[in-house]
Symmetry: C2
Subunit: 379 residues, 2 copies
């Protein structure tokens, strides 16, 4: 018997309460029984997004929400800035280019976070730039970008929308949509929200809705205006992913019981314990700046393949973390502490990591990392 532990930055474990709620017989998405379900999801998401904006609920992965955020607010030829500091920054560029936008990338070295001044400088030179795209947490590098700082910059430019992929940040980071001036923010179900994959969430500001009026790109499935009209009636434009939305309400209920501040504190504490534990083990963080509270990216020690660490964790100890992506492949591995995660998920991950590293020939005294994590988690 190999007991399984999921410590990946999405999908993340789904709590039994949520699994159970989704095992209830299905209800029809246009029947009156469903209206309060969607109403509750809608207001729950506004609470989580810290916004008065509409938060659309779409049956797709988070990437669908990203595509819709390009497709609903721009026209071919529009100039936009993409902060590219990893694989998901690259994805913004690819999506924007697919739809004919002219992308000016701000390249950020993997493992580092963007300087808001860099965005400010470009916007000042060219106030025609129609949007700034960024990740809150760049999952591939474990870096959290300074969304608050970027928001202050973009807010000064009337023609520019601020669009944030918060898919893996949401729940783990304090994301103040309204206070920070985020025009469009995207979330996904299978990350901090502790649900299976299949839902995207998108908050849209009034500034973005106004821009939507002049956006003439072809769109049908990701038609945010239609979603907004339906949302006002507690419906979705096409068939609602009923089961996932029922699970969403259950997950939000759990988060509300814990309280938003406590949720953020928990994630911050688990993340810090993970970071300090791996440092105590003599390992280096891959995130040189602003490490995220969702996932910790760790450099493989000299002479040891990051993919071997990832594979041994999974095959020998049943722990699914994540390896490195693209140019970080082999160089790093990642452990998440996101969503339905507590003290003993961290302890488990660190203990297994010690054993795997020792087996791979790394010189370590067993228990070193665990002790450091315990110390922090007891505070």
């Amino acid at each position: 018997m190999l007991k399984r532990y999921l410590l990946a930055p999405g999908p993340t474990p789904v709590p039994p309460e949520v699994l159970l709620s989704m095992a209830m017989p299905i209800i029809h998405h246009r029947a009156p029984d469903f209206l309060p379900v969607l109403e509750s999801a809608k207001t729950g998401l506004q609470w989580l997004f810290q916004t008065k904006n509409d938060v659309l609920i779409i049956a797709s992965t988070g990437t669908g929400g990203m595509v819709g955020s390009v497709n609903n607010f721009f026209n071919p030829g529009d100039k936009v800035i993409v902060v590219n500091g990893g694989k998901f920054g690259e994805r913004w560029t690819k999506i924007a280019q697919s739809y004919g936008l002219k992308v000016e990338e701000i390249p950020v070295e993997w493992g580092y976070s963007v300087k808001p001044e860099a965005v400010d400088a470009i916007l000042k030179k060219d106030p025609e730039i129609k949007g700034v795209f960024v990740q809150a947490t760049e999952t591939s590098t474990g870096v959290y970008h300074d969304v608050e700082g970027l928001g202050k910059v973009v807010k000064k430019f009337d023609n520019t929308l601020f669009i944030v992929d918060a898919i893996s940040a949401l729940v783990a980071q304090d994301m103040k949509t309204d206070a920070w001036g985020i025009d469009v923010m995207i979330g996904g179900s299978q990350k901090g929200l502790m649900l299976p994959p299949g839902l995207a969430f998108v908050s849209v500001s009034e500034k973005a809705w106004q821009r939507n009026e002049s956006s003439k790109m072809p769109r049908f499935y990701f038609n945010f205006k239609k979603e907004r009209e339906n949302l006002a009636k507690n419906q979705t434009n096409f068939t609602s992913a009923v089961t996932l939305i029922i699970g969403l309400n259950e997950a939000i209920k759990m988060l509300q019981k814990e309280g938003l501040e406590n949720v953020f504190k928990r994630h911050a504490r688990l993340a810090r314990a993970t970071r300090e534990a791996v440092k105590a083990m003599g390992l280096a963080l891959y995130s040189k700046e602003s490490p995220s509270n969702s996932v910790t990216a760790i450099e493989a020690p000299a002479g040891i393949d990051g993919q071997a660490i990832y594979k041994n964790l999974r095959e020998k100890y049943g722990i699914t973390g994540a390896g490195g992506q693209d140019k970080a492949k082999g160089k790093i591995f990642r452990l998440a502490h996101l969503g339905y995660a507590d003290i003993f998920d961290v302890i488990t991950g660190i203990a297994a990591l010690e054993m795997v590293l020792k087996e791979l020939g790394y010189d370590i005294k067993l228990g070193t990392g665990v002790a450091k994590a315990q110390e922090i988690l007891m505070q």
Copy 2:
């Protein structure tokens, strides 16, 4: 206590086996554990679609599959035929027009099915037409279109793709993708496949893949070529809707145990029993030709509002059927016999209908419809 019965043409009831399978802890979509899950879903769908073609699995509603079928095989300005005999025919037109296609509609009176000769005549006049779009079952009218006959017509035209929305037909109707020359066929999870909403399935022929090479529309989320490349590795392009795919395997296992021929016979029998029962009650079918095996559309008797029948079924007896859509609203109501449906679903629906109609002032001897259904279902 009001016990609930779901007799709508989607979402449909999800069997307990499937619900239970989806309540298992989540697995990571890029981990080796998931590869056999997707492999099994892939071959299971080929069995169900009766095809050797790739059947793509996409995290969206069925409409997403329809959008992708326009978006991946055409260019703006391409001329296409849409068979429009109801609300979902209209949807083909809207999607195609959203992407700049020039649509020639073949209008079909609601309640009737298209004549393949009508398509043949237009294609002969204009062999530049790049595609023919149709529903297998037009859910809004309860009509099944002659897909086999249409396939024979379209097959003669080398430049023309045959694209079939089989979302509500699949499982209830014998859909021979390869034998009938269907280039692109779309299915959805929440219909005959007895799953929650959230997955679209799309089979793509070699002829369609060749056309895909010259299609230059912007696309990112519904990028079928990328899905195909991923499918070859038992993956999906973006995060797989893991839970629904696990449920899909369970549902396919149930259908395979029953056998495809028996599945079709069951649906045909339940549909016939429903039709004969309502006729025995003195009601008229809304489908004047080729009634589908998925859903029966029934005309409300003179002086009785179709929406009142639908509402009373639900509110008084806990039975969620469907009303009429758009111009059929108030004139009809619908009862489905789709997916996880058996004899006593039909009996329940018909018995409740008798009681509701009597309460609404319709002159009927209780048990008339039920007796007719029993008679047919005992054969």
